[in-house]
């Protein structure tokens, strides 16, 4: 039910809408709930609305942390 997925913003459309892509699958969604969405951003999409922006730096850090744990193992 809380199914949500990070998608890439490809084009900002009028009326707080945007064209987003997930591996070439493209949909038009609302970005009314997230401020200052730009082309190239990744946003978390839920029931047709972007809910949050993915912070690429934090994502990188999380992965790095995971890899560090793995390296320890």
């Amino acid at each position: 039910m809380c199914l949500a997925i990070p998608v890439e913003v490809r084009e900002i459309l009028p009326g707080d809408m945007a064209r987003v892509s997930l591996d070439g699958v493209v949909k038009v969604v609302s970005i009314a709930l997230v401020e200052d969405v730009k082309v190239g951003d990744y946003v978390v999409l839920h029931v047709g609305y972007a809910l949050a922006r993915i912070d690429p730096e934090e994502a990188r850090k999380t992965l790095a942390l995971l890899q560090a744990v793995a390296a320890d193992a």
Binding site: L22, V25, K27
Partner: protein, 349 residues
């Protein structure tokens, strides 16, 4: 001396619509059948104008099958309800290892259907039938009031002949047998769903709709009696097909998620929709269960055929009184691959 004949006006195939007179058994119906179906299917059996068609057969083991096609929308990327109606029924024959011989087609048309759409569907059927070498030799057309059908429903039936000695059977699977799929899964269902109202998304995915009897002939030749059973994972997808086979053969299956071919775009569309590609319909793929010693020749033969280029061994049959289909996930854990409970996906076939 005979009278002047009525001038036979062609149907307005560009702008006309199916109306109730086209189903009433009169001259209007005859004209629809002639201008649309006989023109598109174009064979001597139909031209004979009988209520049935005849053909000679040698002594053989025959198979017969039927499917109704109600897909919505009727046109989708990579095909339409017509290609589906021809290839789907050919495939159900091919899954018995049989060579499809002849098809029948019956139509339920909704009053108001644009004749242009009907012609497009009929031509698709004619082309698919010629491409597969399986003529549509008899048919029927009914027209129902607007709102009593959804544009067009097609039921095709088909007959075919099994090579001597071949006896595939859904209860023949043995623990240890290999599970093979002929290519990527989920393409058809995703292609159809991409065009559903309120669900639209843009994608380059095409339906995989294709006739599999050529591939099957190569498989039969390569695997011989090592081939236990084949099935095309249509409605309910790979998950439903393997659960059916598990139940019918009294075995379990273990799959490797990593080994199952799925296009990236299909996976992405499934993420969007909250679906599992294992539950999504295919129309040009098959699952084969094969004895371990015939796996390699089978895979080699499949990969040599254009419709089996991405064939893969995805798992094995195992002894299991619970008849579970289990899968080791990409993540390394195990899970059951179940039928979808009460799925209400769009009409995809």
């Amino acid at each position: 001396m005979s009278l002047a004949k009525p001038i036979r006006r062609k149907l307005d195939l560009a702008n006309g619509r199916v109306d109730l007179s086209h189903g009433a058994g009169g001259r209007a119906m005859g004209r629809l059948i002639e201008d649309v179906f006989l023109a598109a299917f174009d064979n001597a059996w139909l031209a004979a104008g009988n209520d049935q068609s005849a053909f000679e057969v040698a002594a053989c083991r025959m198979v017969m099958t039927t499917d109704a096609y109600v897909v919505s929308p009727i046109f989708f990327p990579g095909g339409d309800i017509g290609t589906l109606a021809v290839n789907g029924t050919i495939n159900d024959i091919a899954m018995a290892g049989a060579r499809p011989l002849y098809l029948s087609a019956s139509f339920v048309l909704e009053e108001g259907l644009p004749l242009a759409d009907l012609v497009r569907v009929a031509r698709s059927m004619g082309e698919a039938s010629r491409a597969a070498g399986v003529p549509i030799i008899t048919g029927d057309t009914k027209v129902v009031e607007r709102g009593k059908a959804d544009k067009i429903f097609i039921s095709t039936a088909g007959v075919g002949v099994t090579p001597p000695g071949l006896a595939l059977s859904s209860d023949a699977v043995q623990p240890g047998d290999a599970v093979v799929v002929s290519g990527t899964i989920g393409d058809h269902g995703v292609a159809v769903m991409s065009k559903r109202e309120n669900l639209e998304f843009e994608t380059a995915i095409l339906s995989d709709c294709a006739p599999l009897h050529g591939l099957v002939a190569d498989m039969v030749a390569a695997a011989g009696p090592g081939l236990r059973v084949m099935r095309d994972p249509t409605r309910g997808g790979l998950a439903a097909t393997l659960n059916e086979l598990a139940n019918q053969s009294g075995v379990g299956f273990t799959l490797e998620e990593d080994a199952i071919p799925v296009r990236a775009e299909v996976a992405a569309a499934c993420e969007f929709l909250g679906l599992d590609p294992l539950n999504v319909a295919n129309e040009g793929k098959l699952v084969a269960i094969v004895a371990p010693d015939r796996l390699e020749p089978l895979l080699a033969a499949m990969r040599a055929h254009p419709l089996g280029a991405r064939a893969a061994m995805i798992g094995r049959a195992v002894e299991d009184p619970d008849r579970f289909v289990e899968m080791r996930t990409v993540f390394g854990g195990g899970r059951i691959v179940d039928w979808l409970a009460g799925e209400q996906l769009p009409r995809i076939c």
